[in-house]
């Protein structure tokens, strides 16, 4: 099948859905909105399947038209590129996307902005597809900014709430800081390589590239700044927890499964460049480690079900970053994929819980929901087991692969990640038990009203649960004797050698994992499957305060950047602009005015004075011209 046709089939349906729903959403019935909205991602998914079937050979470069052009420097196509990495990403994006769309039709059905919501979701999907499919950095950047925009729109979807708006703006601006780096990196790349297409960069790099070239390092770091923004790495991660203000499907799709992984995707996409700069890889790995650990730590103390998941997302993104940093790109993509499944599942499950509880998000007010929401409980359990890395769920394989690969490169990174995964297990089990086990900690009336969600929500959950259970089999480790299909598939694009670890290490890792998980599960069950709220109250100790307040990072930014800027702004408006600049500029003005008034006295109206001044002037002139 023709690559261009498939591309069109993948790319445009969400946009069409967006346009129809966006323009006429208010005038067509809801069921039509739902169908149109879901049709887009589904068609894209179909296209993806077709792409997998027909285009898994060599990469396809599809330049649609010349976007803009600078003679002598670069020609920037509005072009697309389908290769193995893109196909994997497409599966994630369109697959999870379709499911979440379907879920949303149930979840958001009663909202008065339903059609708008679906339109935004479609637009997001379109932007994401641009990002994934772009054949050059600029198109990728377009998608990159597009998803940021949709993120802004969806976080602030309930725009009448001021807090949500703040969160939305925060997300957008933090992303923009990253985008600044990205954009600068683009320019540096154009300067360095004279082109912007991935293929041309790759080729030029192969010919001329030098290891440890400072320019390349700068480019990589700038790109990584962009990644920090989008994939919520330290120091730009604080927007992601706040972004949970959006509706839950948004959190699932954008802030867990797809958008936030765009950074990971970018680095995987540009892996050849990063390979030339070990320095930046190290920076990435260290940042990833810190992010993973800190986010996991913060998650331990959170009570908001979505916030916990958000921090967990940040933490998992840190894992991926570390994987990238040690050069194990495929492991990162693998984890990206599985993470998309189980994190989407968890979010949607959490959404189902929230939906069932009519908007309650605090786990300290839940408990014992197992009986009321059987399906939800089941899928949440699967999701939890997947994320904590319990074999044979999806998370186990990917996480294991990352840990192994990190271990093969640097022991200290491994140690940090191991700690982080212990924390992960703790807070995930805590969430699970606190929500579904024990006694309901809210009022009776409320408990009565708790209900299981509708089928449109449950069915996607089940599908995702299936993926979370079996998704890991795409990359079976060598030890199991299975094939690592994903590696085989991706290595055609990402030319990366596999890491090597001893079998002994791997066996011990598995063993330790299982033992640790069981013990943590036991401990947390003991602690959180209760009817008392006390355990959810954070202590007054310094450490818990710091953790609860997210290491005071927001406050730090406020003090360091926002407040000084605000103050400067007010100072400029109130004092500087008119007090200094305007006055400086108007010096001649005032000078003229005042001297004019002073000169008025010269014109006293007295004739004698006029005649005298005439005579004196003559005298002066004569003097000047005699003694010149």
């Amino acid at each position: 099948m023709d690559a261009t046709l498939i591309l069109h089939l993948i790319l445009w349906p969400p946009l069409i859905g967006f346009l129809i729903n966006g323009l006429f959403g208010n005038s067509i019935p809801k069921w039509a909105v739902s169908i149109i909205a879901c049709l887009g991602p589904l068609t894209s998914f179909t296209g993806t399947v077709l792409a997998y079937k027909f285009l898994s050979g060599p990469a396809h470069d599809i330049p649609l038209y010349t976007w803009f052009i600078v003679e002598g420097s670069a020609k920037i196509n509005f072009g697309f590129y389908i290769d193995h990495l893109a196909i994997i990403m497409l599966f994630v994006v369109t697959g999870v996307g379709s499911l979440i769309h379907a879920y949303s039709t149930g979840y958001m059905h009663d909202d008065k902005g339903y059609s708008r919501f679906m339109a935004y979701m479609n637009l997001f999907l379109f932007s994401m597809l641009l990002l994934v499919l772009g054949s050059n950095l600029v198109v990728l950047f377009a998608g990159w900014e597009g998803v940021g925009l949709c993120s802004f729109l969806l976080i602030g979807f309930w725009f009448e709430n001021k807090e949500y708006n703040k969160a939305a703006a925060k997300a957008f601006i933090m992303n923009r800081i990253g985008d600044l780096g990205f954009l600068v990196a683009i320019f540096l790349i154009i300067n360095k390589f004279g082109g912007i297409e991935f293929t041309s960069i790759h080729e030029t790099l192969m010919e001329e590239g030098q290891l440890n070239d400072p320019q390349i390092a700068l480019i990589c770091l700038m790109l990584f700044l962009g990644v920090c923004g989008k994939s919520a790495q330290i120091p730009l991660f604080t927007w992601l927890p706040d972004a949970m203000a959006g509706p839950t499907p948004v959190s699932a799709l954008i802030h867990a499964a797809t958008m936030v992984t765009a950074g990971i995707y970018l680095i995987a996409r540009m892996y050849f460049l990063f390979d030339y700069s070990p320095l930046s890889l190290n920076v990435i790995a260290i940042t990833g480690c810190i992010t993973a650990l800190i986010a996991a730590t913060i998650a331990l103390k959170q009570n908001d079900i979505k916030k916990i998941l958000a921090y967990s997302t940040v933490s998992q993104l840190g894992y991926m970053a570390v994987a990238l940093g040690v050069g194990s790109y495929i492991s990162a993509v693998f984890h990206l994929m599985t993470h998309a499944f189980f994190k989407a599942l968890l979010f949607l499950g959490a959404g189902s819980v929230i939906h069932g509880l009519h908007g309650e998000q605090d786990i300290s007010k839940m408990g014992g929901l197992k009986s009321k929401m059987k399906w939800t409980y089941a899928v949440m359990l699967i999701g939890t087991l997947a994320i904590v890395g319990c074999p044979p769920f999806a998370g186990f394989f990917s996480k294991d692969e990352i840990l192994a690969s990190v271990y093969s490169k640097n022991f200290w990174y491994f140690l940090v990640l191991a700690f982080a995964s212990v924390f992960t297990a703790w807070y995930m089990f805590r969430l699970l038990f606190a929500t579904f086990h024990g006694q309901f900690r809210g009022s009776e009336v409320k408990f009565e009203k708790v209900h299981e969600s509708s089928y449109s929500m449950v069915i996607p959950l089940i599908v995702l649960a299936l993926f979370s259970m079996f998704g890991g089999f795409a990359g079976l480790p060598e030890l199991t004797g299975g094939e690592h299909n994903l590696y085989k598939f991706l290595v055609q694009t990402i030319a990366q050698t596999r890491f090597k670890v001893s079998h002994l290490f791997e066996y011990s890792l598995w063993g330790i994992t299982i033992v640790a998980l069981i013990s943590i599960a036991y401990l947390t069950y003991r602690k959180y499957a209760t009817s008392s709220k006390v355990v959810f109250e954070s202590g007054n100790s310094l450490v818990s305060k710091i953790i609860l307040n997210k290491f005071y990072l927001d406050e730090l930014y406020l003090i360091l950047f926002v407040n000084p800027l605000k103050k400067t702004g007010s100072w400029i408006i109130n004092q500087f602009e008119y007090g200094v600049i305007d006055r400086l500029i108007r010096i001649p003005d005032t000078l003229i005015e005042s001297s004019s008034i002073a000169l008025k006295n010269l014109q006293s109206g007295k004739l004698s004075w006029y005649l005298l001044s005439t005579a004196v002037s003559i005298l002066l002139i004569v003097l000047v011209f005699i003694y010149r």
């Binding site: 003229i592 008034i597 000169l599 004739l607 001044s613 005439t614 003559i618 011209f625 010149r628």
Partner: protein, 452 residues
């Protein structure tokens, strides 16, 4: 030119006699017809009269053109004398007679070849203007203006004569042209005094003090002729004087002019900024404009000639409109303060429009005559390596925006005054001047062609 002088004189006499008779409404037509005839006679060459002129005056290229400009200006102003109708037949006839004689004086000034005729011309013009300045006998302001003008004027005459006398001492001749060789020291002094006298007449800083007071006190229509007719005549004569003697003048004379120009442009502008009376403001504007025109004195070329003429036309057409509008506003509201111009755009849009355009032209706004005139002057002085002077001129033009702006601002302020109107023929004339201003700005080459 003799014919023109005769026509004007006879017409003046006729008007004076008609003033005694009871035939109303005929005075103005007579004056206009006479002036038109004089203009016509001036445009044609007559050799017949030359023997009577005996080298006292000579109507050559530039003096003919300046005379024509003066006469056209006078012709433009003449119809407005109808506004004096209320003051009785005799007064009108006196005004018209004196006015015609004043024109004679100015023609003499700009075409004199001998200091004697120059002096006589200056005096005829000055005495006429002393009288006209005091025409409003009951008004203390008018009296004061007349007196100040008179005292300064006769003082000026004395200084001028002193200068002429010293030139006479050295050259033993009163002819303006027969000098050869460099001027001696005392003759330079003579020229210095002579030029200073002209600077007084033209009202260049620092000899300008009388001008604003006199302009303000004089009845506005006569101020208009002072600002146009007298000024052009004085500058024209001055220019002729300088150009005729350019070869013999000491080399520092350019610096004398530069000094005058700088003082005029800077001080004149700055003094004007805080003015409240529009008439005074226009007086200062006239002072500054003459400073600009003086830039043409610094060098000699044919180019400068028509540049000056162009400037005259630009200045006269704009200034005339300005003063006439001031007159109307003054009669309407009783004062020439800025306050009485507030809301003019609402109460009389026509006058507001013409006044605005004339102000823009005076300020040197683009696509008006004033802009072109300034450009010519500036490009002249830059071409002759007076770049710094041109820069000062440019900056002074910016300062001048300050006060032109004030007037325009007042005109377009919102105000709920009742509207009033002026007769259409006056308005029509004003429109004609405005059109001249605009045409001179839009197609200057047309006007230059006419001048040439």
């Amino acid at each position: 030119m003799m014919l023109a002088l005769i026509i004007l004189t006879l017409a003046g006499l006729l008007i004076l006699f008609l003033g005694f008779s009871k035939i109303r409404n005929v005075l103005l037509p007579v004056a206009i017809v006479a002036l038109v005839a004089a203009i016509f006679s001036l445009t044609t060459q007559q050799t017949f009269w030359n023997q009577y002129l005996t080298d006292m005056v000579q109507i050559d290229g530039i003096s003919r053109k300046i005379s024509l400009i003066i006469m056209y200006t006078a012709l433009g102003l003449l119809p407005f004398f109808n506004l004096f109708k209320g003051r009785g037949q005799e007064e009108l006839s006196d005004f018209l007679g004196i006015y015609l004689f004043a024109i004679i004086g100015s023609i003499l000034m700009v075409s004199a070849l001998n200091y004697m005729s120059l002096f006589l011309g200056v005096e005829i013009l000055s005495i006429s203007m002393y009288v006209l300045a005091g025409a409003n006998r009951r008004s203390v302001h008018s009296n004061e203006a007349s007196l100040k003008y008179f005292i300064t004027g006769s003082f000026t005459s004395a200084i001028m004569l002193f200068g002429i006398a010293w030139i006479y001492v050295e050259s033993a001749s009163l002819s303006m042209v027969q000098l050869s060789g460099a001027a001696t020291n005392m003759m330079s002094f003579g020229f210095l005094f002579l030029f200073t006298a002209f600077a007084l007449k033209v009202a260049l800083v620092p000899f300008h003090f009388w001008a604003p007071d006199v302009y303000q006190g004089t009845p506005t229509l006569f101020t208009a002729s002072m600002a146009t007719l007298v000024k052009i005549a004085a500058i024209g004569a001055f220019y002729r004087l300088v150009q005729l003697n350019y070869a013999v003048l000491p080399d520092w004379i350019n610096w004398y002019f530069v000094l005058l120009i700088l003082a005029t442009l800077i001080l004149g502008n700055i003094q004007a900024v805080s003015q409240n009376s529009v008439k005074r403001l226009f007086a200062y504007s006239g002072i500054v404009q003459s400073g600009f025109i003086l830039m043409g004195f610094l060098y000699q070329s044919e180019f400068v000639d028509w540049t000056m003429l162009f400037y005259f036309i630009a200045y006269a057409s704009a200034s005339l409109v300005g003063f006439i509008v001031i007159h109307f506003v003054e009669t309407q509201s009783g004062s020439d303060n800025l306050d009485s111009f507030v809301g003019l755009s609402k109460s009389n849009p026509g006058l507001a429009l013409v006044l605005t355009i004339s102000l823009i032209s005076l300020a040197g706004g683009p696509l008006t005559a004033g802009f072109m005139a300034k450009i010519f002057m500036l490009s002249q002085s830059i071409q002759n390596n007076f770049t710094a002077l041109a820069l000062v001129a440019v900056i002074s033009a910016v300062i001048s925006m300050y006060y032109y702006y004030k007037v325009i601002n007042a005109i377009y302020s919102k105000s709920a005054d009742a509207s009033w109107s002026v007769p259409f023929y006056y308005k029509g004339l004003l429109y004609v001047f405005t059109v001249i201003t605009l045409i001179a700005g839009l197609v200057p080459s047309f006007l230059i062609g006419l001048i040439k």
